[in-house]
């Protein structure tokens, strides 16, 4: 057991370093963990050996997989079911386009220009098709658009977009057999029963120190994950769906969600993201960066082609449409989950994985940096310019008098 505890101390130490870096640089913890995983593998691998981090140890694989499942569940549980019920038509329209454009576009580019195999190209399409709900939500909050009809529709659309990603990930790479059919039928029954059964079960037995709620949720997440895996699918698919169907009940229980977050961020996701980062080969990226640049460009272009006209069709103001398009091009969580799925299932090799994860990271970082660096001062200055030009005479006079606009 000494080896296990030593390894655990090493991983948690890396997680602590990643968290400190995320605090100092104000970057997402997941991003920091991926980078720390990559650098740690590079340094420790060169000094001690490539197996030193023990990324293929069963217990690390288990903690990492559980991290992906619970994180996906929490992401699904953030859906607002009331908004979704009222906006499902618009949300489905925007979400399906935002998913299909990069999914098909990136698949085509990987197949045609990078000459990757068909399955590797499909996986590329899946990994680059995601949209970060969190990024869009942050933008909506900033503009105060989260309460407007269109803002709500776009937010709900992000869930549809990511649902498209997990469904594609869960079904494209599994052979359609009787097992798949059983998985779909059982899933449908569970997704119908859970929203009815869960609040009643929690009401009778929940709210005790024995943490019954967490065990109950983990039972369904692991059970459905096992079924998905047996059918050749991916456990994050049922996890995301369970999160969505329980969004109206579990998602609203802030204390329970907070406890799940402690478990997830404190122990599970560091193992997932550090492990995901450790598989990235920096030498491969340095040797041939063109593939990474092509994939990154492909995601940005195809997202823009899909999302921008849609926001304009919904009469979104020009600057907000551009800003939203830019930020809908992000998607770290599901992008990295898809890429790691591809690597561990032999759909892509380590070099392709490295290019893909680098493109996913770049698509998460670059749009937000561009938006922060260029958009913020310009739009504030533009407002002032309009006022001074004379669009609002009263305000102009007020400014001349030394008042405020």
């Amino acid at each position: 057991m000494t080896e296990v505890w030593t390894m655990a101390a090493l991983w948690v130490g890396l997680a602590l370093i990643a968290t400190l870096l995320s605090i100092w640089f104000r970057i997402a913890t997941a991003l920091s963990e991926i980078i720390v995983g990559t650098v740690a593998q590079l340094i420790i691998g060169a000094l001690i050996g490539s197996a030193a981090l023990g990324t293929k140890e069963p217990w690390i694989t288990f903690l990492s997989g559980t991290g992906a499942i619970v994180l996906t569940f929490l992401a699904g549980a953030e859906l607002d079911p009331v908004v979704f019920k009222t906006k499902w038509k618009e949300a489905s329209f925007i979400g399906v386009i935002a998913f299909l454009a990069p999914f098909l576009g990136c698949t085509f580019i990987a197949y045609k220009f990078l000459h990757w195999s068909l399955m590797a190209s499909w996986l590329t399409g899946v990994a680059l098709s995601t949209t970060s709900v969190a990024v869009v939500y942050a933008v909506m909050l900033e503009f105060g658009l989260n309460k407007t009809g269109f803002g709500k529709a776009v937010l709900a659309a992000c869930f549809i977009n990511d649902l498209g990603t997990v469904v594609a990930l869960g079904l494209i790479f599994s052979p359609f057999t009787v097992k798949t059919l059983i998985f779909i039928v059982v899933s449908a029954v569970v997704f119908i029963i859970l929203p009815w059964m869960t609040p009643r079960f929690f009401k009778h037995y929940g709210d005790r120190p024995s943490e019954l709620e967490t065990k109950y949720l983990l039972l369904f997440l692991f059970g459905m994950g096992a079924l998905a895996s047996w059918a050749g699918s991916e456990p994050v698919l049922p996890a995301y769906m369970i999160g969505m169907v329980l969004a109206g009940t579990v998602g609203k229980d802030h204390i329970l969600v907070r406890r799940l977050r402690t478990l997830t961020f404190g122990l599970l996701t560091p193992f997932y993201f550090i492990r995901a980062g450790s598989f990235v080969s920096v030498p491969v990226l340095m040797a041939a960066p063109a593939a990474f640049l092509i994939l990154f460009g492909a995601k940005m272009i195809t997202k823009t082609v899909g999302v921008y006209p849609t926001t304009k069709a919904c009469k979104y103001p020009e600057k907000e449409a551009r800003y939203t398009t830019l930020l809908m091009s992000t998607g770290l969580t599901f992008g990295s989950i898809s890429a790691l799925f591809g690597l561990t299932h032999g759909v892509i090799d380590q070099a392709q994985y490295s290019y893909l994860v680098a493109a996913v990271i770049a698509s998460a970082v670059v749009p937000t940096l561009i938006a922060n660096a260029w958009y913020l001062p310009r739009h504030l200055m533009a407002v002032r310019e309009e006022i001074i030009i004379g669009a609002h005479k009263e305000v102009k006079d007020q400014i001349k008098k030394g008042g405020t606009a």
Binding site: S22, W24, F25, R26, I27, A28, T29, A30, L31, L71, L74, A75, E78, S132, V133, A134, V135, Y137, A138, L141, E142, H254, V257, R258, R261, T264, F265, T330, L332, T333, A364, V365, P367, T368, L369, N372, A373, L376, P377, L380, M381, V383, R384, I399, G403, T404, A405
Partner: protein
Amino acid sequence: MIQKILVPYNGGASADAAFNFALGLAKTYNAPVHVLSVIQLAEPPMEAETEAVIENSTQHYHKLFADLHKRAQDAGVTVHASVVTGHPEEQILMKADKEHIDVIVMGHQTRGKFGRWFIGSVTDRVVDHAQCTVIVVKRDHTKK
């Protein structure tokens, strides 16, 4: 004439000095003080983590607001405190614009060392872009 004062507040020593300075100003002009705390999310915001940051930060600021309200009450000044999410400089400028603020009173340092080196301080950007007067209060102002 000063009718409304805005104090961006992050709970730090500089922001605290700015709040104290604003209380003095508010008493002189009989003006209310608007306190604004901005929750700055990590870049890029992540699923599940974002909600956690917003919840934790909102609770944290509400605890700090209780103390600010008490200090304002003792000074006989009205305080309106609010928490928003976004980029601090943008939210401060938007608030100043929306509430027709006459003076923004803010602390000297409102970003970490790396942030200041990389994109400049929040104070610099507010001073550059604000349409009203901005008073920058040094952290040790009250000691002099």
